[in-house]
């Protein structure tokens, strides 16, 4: 049978209501898909950001704070570990390298992070331009907008409260770090000695010794100030666990950022799942409401259906034509919803990326498409109900009365 003519007539006749129905379904589908794609994008981006930070060692306290400050470049105050720990770790044969991460200063909204050239190379690879040679030189993250040759005046603290007068020292940008997809892209990275120096601290070397002006390790434990965080790259996975165990003490905490993220994701995942349940329930309600509305529309068309029956249309034809019409609404709404969900995820990702400095890419995967397919399947089943009712109705009295 060929119900297209009738389907087309129904789509045209109720076009206002049809459009509204399809948009409602689209909105519900977009919500479910957007939440799902966005949650995964956030998870992947933050996991990627923490990728190069194998093991973090810091003073006892909140693991989340330490992680947010060291990896996500959030302006948080954390306790310090003794500087001598750096030399101790460097001497450990299980350690490939141990890099200090010091923070607290900023240039405008851009955080300034002090570390070693070694860790910078590990994080970002080869810089454009060159790495710093003196304490007055800096490497800018790819997303800071700074160019080689720019002169920066770091201030103590972050944001409007930062004390611009506290440091009298200017920094010159000599290199740009390639994009890493981490929040460090939005930071200015300086030799850790610079951070120590401007705060009037010892700079890791005996100032009277021959190494006084050399940057980077080895650091003399006698002249190394307290450090907010140390990133340790173990020489093997086994060493990673041993080191984590060794530095879980009363004076230090050691953890894999990945494990903290997993914990975070389990909360995030619970929230996302809950939202998805809401979104799916919303979809079911939307479809039900729409089918109720459409059924009311179909009642107005009982006369037309009676005419078709009188012309010899089998019940199956009426049922199929009604079902195809309703399913077209659902399918149109779901298709539009996939597109809207994708767009929404892109927009939210861009906003989040701007906010956090992470490279967040929301993609639609089989999971989102299966959510959409589920909606489509539910719609197909629910559309059969009005179709059956319409097809089984008696040839209307409207026609039988004359």
């Amino acid at each position: 049978m060929s119900p297209w003519g009738l389907v087309r007539a129904n789509l045209i006749r109720n076009r206002g209501a049809n459009l509204l129905f399809a948009l409602l379904i689209a909105a519900a589908v977009a919500l479910a898909i957007g939440v799902s794609a966005q949650e995964r994008a956030l998870r992947q981006a933050s996991a990627h950001a923490a990728d190069k930070f194998d093991l973090l060692i810091g003073a006892p306290g909140g693991r989340m704070d330490l992680m947010l400050a060291a990896i996500f470049a959030r302006p948080l105050a954390v306790e310090l570990v003794p500087g001598s720990l750096l030399a101790e770790l460097a001497a450990n044969r299980r350690v490939a390298f141990a890099a200090p991460v010091a923070f607290g200063d900023s240039v405008g909204d851009t955080p300034v992070i002090g570390t070693t050239a070694e860790f910078l190379a590990h994080l970002g690879g080869a810089v454009t331009g060159r790495i710093w040679a003196t304490e007055a030189e800096a490497v800018a993250g790819a997303a800071t907008g700074y160019a080689i040759g720019d002169t920066l005046a770091p201030a103590h603290g972050h944001g409007p409260g930062a004390d611009g007068e506290a440091h009298g020292m200017a920094l010159t940008v000599v290199g740009i770090m390639p994009p890493t997809g981490t929040p460090w892209d939005g930071a200015v990275i300086v030799p850790v000695e610079q951070v120590w120096g401007v705060h009037g601290l010892a700079t890791g070397k005996d100032p009277a010794g021959p190494d006084a002006a050399r940057l980077g390790p080895p650091f003399d434990p006698a002249f190394t100030p307290g450090i907010p965080a140390i990133v340790v790259r173990p020489d093997s996975a086994a060493s990673a666990y041993v080191l984590r165990q060794t530095y879980r003490t009363a004076a230090t905490q050691a953890f894999f950022p990945a494990e903290v993220l997993v914990e975070l994701y389990s909360y995030l995942g619970d929230v996302a799942r809950l939202m998805q349940v809401f979104a799916l329930a919303t979809q079911a309600l939307v479809i039900l409401a729409i089918l109720a509305g459409v059924s009311a529309l179909m009642r107005l068309q009982r006369r037309q259906i009676g005419v078709l029956r009188a012309l010899g249309a089998p019940r199956g034809y009426i049922g199929v034509a009604t079902w195809v019409y309703l399913f077209a609404l659902v399918a149109g709404g779901v298709t539009l919803g996939i597109a809207l969900g994708w767009i929404a995820a892109q927009v939210v990702s861009t906003l989040f990326a701007g906010e956090t400095g992470m490279a967040i890419t929301a993609r639609l995967t089989g999971h989102e498409l299966s959510l959409a397919a589920l909606t489509l399947a539910v719609g197909a089943v629910l559309a059969a109900l009005p179709a059956l009712l319409v097809a089984r109705g008696p040839i209307p009295r409207a026609l039988a009365e004359g």
Partner: protein, 235 residues
């Protein structure tokens, strides 16, 4: 076109409950016969049950008693699906209110019955639809049937009734609310169908149509009598 079947309706009754436990008899037709290819006009005052009689003859509803026999096929003996199939093969129906699908083109309206059982309407049927619209002088490709004049619309309905080439045509006041010129055209078209060997039963008060179809019966308070109904004359 299949051969036109003879019609024999016997002891036909249609009753409704009146809501007070009693029954209202709408129709009581002892006998209505029509030879193959014959034509007859059923007249009568409004509310006499003329449309109901057509609905019974088309198998759109079941009689409370009696049988409608079209050449050996007793409609009340068929199931729902078989009755629909019988209507498709044997019957063309013209409604008093025309009932086109206004959003579709005249041609799409004409071809609707051809799509009831075939997934694709065969090219020959499409050509037949165009030829019918041509014959009744309706532009086939007007975008919307809803934009047609009433006379054009009734002629589209006539083409729709004929698309599957049925041997029987039932027409419910086919010229009602048409102007004189359009009445004339539809009456001629219907008379032409009778000349093609189709059986034709029309409900109408139209003297032009009654004259063209040759015979008339009058339905008064559900009962048939010979001769045309003349308003103001007691039946």
């Amino acid at each position: 076109m299949p051969d036109a079947p003879p019609l024999l309706a016997t002891a036909l009754a249609l009753r409704y409950r009146d809501g007070r436990g009693g029954q209202v008899e709408v129709l009581a037709v002892d006998r209505l016969a029509l030879a193959p290819g014959g034509s007859v006009c059923i007249t009568g005052p409004s509310g006499a049950g003329k449309s109901s009689l057509l609905h019974l003859l088309a198998g759109l509803m079941a009689p409370s008693a009696g049988t409608v026999d079209w050449g050996g096929t007793v409609l009340s003996g068929l199931g729902e699906g078989a009755r629909a199939g019988w209507r498709r093969r044997m019957l063309g129906y013209l409604f008093q209110d025309v009932h086109l699908v206004p959003e579709l083109s005249p041609l799409a309206n004409v071809l609707l019955p051809a799509g009831f059982t075939a997934f694709r309407v065969p090219a020959a049927v499409v050509a037949r639809g165009r030829a019918l619209l041509d014959r009744f002088e309706v532009p086939a490709d007007r975008a919307r049937a809803g934009d047609l004049s009433r006379g054009e619309a009734q002629r589209v309905a006539l083409a729709r009734a004929l698309i599957l080439d049925p041997p029987v045509i039932l027409a419910d006041e086919p010229t009602a609310s048409l102007d004189a010129a359009n009445t004339q055209r539809v009456a001629e078209a219907l008379a032409g169908l009778s000349d093609e060997g189709r059986s034709l039963i029309a409900v109408s008060h139209d003297p032009a149509l009654i004259e063209r179809l040759g015979g008339a019966l009058t339905l008064t308070r559900g009962r048939l009598s010979p001769g045309a109904f003349r308003p103001g004359v007691a039946a």
